[in-house]
Symmetry: C2
Subunit: 275 residues, 2 copies
Amino acid sequence: MQLFLGIDGGGTGCRAAVADAAGVIRGRAAVGPANIASDPVGAAANIMAAAEAALAAAGGGVVVAAGLGLAGANAAGAPERLRAVLPWSRMAVVTDAITAVKGALGDGDGVVAALGTGSVFAVQRAGAIRQIGGRGLVLGDEASGAWIGRAMLTAALRAVDGFTAMTPLLAGLVDEMGGPDGVVAFSLRARPADFAALAPRVVESDDPAAVAVMDRAEADVAEAVAVLRGAQDLPVVFLGGLGTVFAQRMAGRFPIRAPAGTALHGALLLAREVA
Amino acid sequence: MQLFLGIDGGGTGCRAAVADAAGVIRGRAAVGPANIASDPVGAAANIMAAAEAALAAAGGGVVVAAGLGLAGANAAGAPERLRAVLPWSRMAVVTDAITAVKGALGDGDGVVAALGTGSVFAVQRAGAIRQIGGRGLVLGDEASGAWIGRAMLTAALRAVDGFTAMTPLLAGLVDEMGGPDGVVAFSLRARPADFAALAPRVVESDDPAAVAVMDRAEADVAEAVAVLRGAQDLPVVFLGGLGTVFAQRMAGRFPIRAPAGTALHGALLLAREVA
């Protein structure tokens, strides 16, 4: 049987699926991490292990083409090094962000807003994908969970300093961290995930400071979506842990669709494209 | 001879001066660093060495009272530990930010805007000092050199993404760092001083992106000064490497004064207060 292979590999795990010519998934498997920038040898081994397990689950077959969406694929030289050690002659290697977009949109044109610990936005037009944002918390990641948490701590210190009114939520954050100096100390050691851990209590709060931060976040999402849609009335798919929060807030501003599939579906679509 | 001792100690050096009852400085000295939070033993030794050298330069005398402005004096317990090992019975220990404010304003009421790698603002009313800002680059330090440099890199990536128009200065920064991914990589390893190193080419540029960043910085300085002045027409003293830049930009918005003296002068004023 001729099969298409899809690989979705990231820092925590590597998933594989094989589908037949009709697009029906015949076998799946999941193994350990596959970041081709930080661990190219381990990633290649896990990719092969996942592929072989998925083929075995399908009862065997021949891989016609492979689509791989992998963390670290944007590192210079990493995709080329990987292709040299993998056996498939027809193969495409892209970042896992690209396969997430392809999976979310399928073949159709549209915009993806991915909002989790970080944030990234993309548009697909006639199969071509353009990505913006996703620059990390220091310079970007607007409206992400980390951005929301950090914005609340900034607001808390500005209230302490008398720039704005203190609110119950801000006072609670300052108190919890041991006062303003504790907030500063937290900020100096916090990774993005630590800031993002503050977001859940912000996104649904009616505290005035939380409302102000979420209004700014929504404006940033709207601006990114507007840049990507241009003059077209493209649908928007929200992904990530905060995706549903913004989808609910922004309903009616543009057509919002549920994701068509996962990043693994996107990898299978990629495999069909290169076949 | 009865003398007042002033100490200005920071991460790079410790300066001492002794002044007579008329306020005339009779002896000065400078030795190695004195950060009482990160190196309390070394700081105490350098403070004593600086004090003894200044007294020797004055031809001897008796210390009536000591004023110490020291980096790390805001760390819990640090001032108390230091006082226990120093010989002067009348002694005040504050942060070097406080003695900088006292030195800049002398006995008069006024506002200090200190803008270097970081930023901090303070008001003195009838000898009482209130400080705002100075929270570090992650959560604050608005209008500082580090803030200006980081804002330019954020603007550069937003221009790359199509949010705003690309400008010559932004394109030059992106090119210099090896493209957008290089900008992100720089941001992940940069300390505040690394961002601040980008500021000099921004502050005097007529590039539209630089003008926009400096306008935002000036608005942030104006807001902090307004919070501290309240309804009073207090004079403003600008300190730090970027102090003259903002003093020139903001001339006419409020009375601007040159600093009355240095942090060491502030420490001598503090000594007279506790005498």
